[in-house]
Amino acid sequence: MAENDERARIEEARRIASDLLENGVVMGVLGLRRVESHVEPYLFTTKDELRDLNISGRYAIARVAENLLRRWDEGALGIIIRGCDERHLIELSKKKSVDLKRIITIGLACTDHEAKECHCLRPYPQKIDVGKSIGDVDYQDHETLARLMEMDISERRRFWSDIFNRCIKCYGCRNSCPLCNCEDCRLEESRWVRVGEIPPEFPSFHLIRAFHMADKCVGCGACERACPMGIPLGKLHQLIREDMKRLFKYETGLNPEDESPLQNDLEKNPLEVQLDEL
């Protein structure tokens, strides 16, 4: 049954993509294709190529779209996206590095299983073309997130300092993130992080990144998948996203017109909490 569903999903994606290509509205459709044992991003330009299309892989594809659009002076790009990819594109458009008008999306709603794997709280794009949305997921429904929240503060300290101690400072978390792309990175400056020392000092390395990403992270989990040491960074970021909602009622990747509350004063973005409650 599940296999049939999967086949129906990919047929549907193929059909929409080939329609786009046939009508000539896009220069190509960006998606994933299977190569031997892994998937890679690929720009499909003919109907035949869509044979190799893959929609079950995970890949933060927004950065590829960003590069393609930068290379082409004009023309539109079709792109097969999940909810997280859509949020990436919206965050990139806030930074003016992607023009959403040049993008035609084929939205893919994640399956229940996929959402669980990613600890995703919003496993669907705003426009869904393939699959059926399972709706929002409460973070307490994800066992590990709920467990992290149940820990008391000293348990948490033990948990995170042990786990951060595994870090080999490969910068995979930073490099895999489509939104962590400052030209000069604080994590490379000896003023903030000691050079040539592993594991990095607690809490500098990880908290500097966590704080920088707080008003950008869309919770895609690419950092966590990239981490060779199994540090659950994605879960940390999901919890920080919950904090952003609680403090500022702000969620990244929803509306390209939204501005980060950290950039604005209290009149424009008032606090959602009473100060004396804190």
Partner: protein, 147 residues
């Protein structure tokens, strides 16, 4: 100021011997002089602490606080103008938001959020500033060393 009489209170006294090292960042519009800010700390704490003037608390980056913890400080104290009194109108608004968020992030990884103290003070009420700082230091003593 009462001397502890019971054994229990006596034990507490040993704990209290811990002297926290803190990094103080203060706005130079409400508190222009770092030396007088230092004089608000008790002598033992002052000897282990650094006091750094900022042009506005908006200059306070999360990195300053995070790095201070990494470097062995037990607390970070930020003193700025009252909301509405900022020389740059809304500098402290931004600082407040950033610090609230940082405090939450510290708590998520198990660092007592009380280690990050930020207070908006009036330069005309030095007594209140002193009380605020003392309360903050008491809390830090209770929490003990960060490392």
């Amino acid at each position: 100021m009462n001397k502890p009489l019971t054994a229990e209170a006596g034990e507490k006294k040993t704990e209290l011997e811990f002297v926290p090292a803190i990094a103080v960042f203060h706005c130079r519009w409400c508190l222009p002089d770092s030396d007088s800010v230092r004089s608000l700390l008790n002598e033992e704490v002052a000897a282990k602490s650094v006091v750094i003037p900022l042009n506005c608390t908006a200059r306070m980056e999360a990195e300053f606080a995070i790095k201070a913890l990494s470097e062995g400080f037990d607390g970070i104290l930020i003193l700025g103008c009252e909301i509405g009194e900022c020389h740059y109108r809304t500098g402290n608004h931004r600082a407040l938001k950033r610090l609230l968020l940082l405090r939450d992030i510290l708590a998520l990884v198990g660092i007592y959020p009380e280690r990050l103290g930020f207070f908006w003070v009036s330069p005309f009420d030095q007594e209140n500033i002193r009380l605020t700082i003392n309360e903050y230091l008491d809390k830090l003593q209770e929490l003990g060393s960060f490392k």
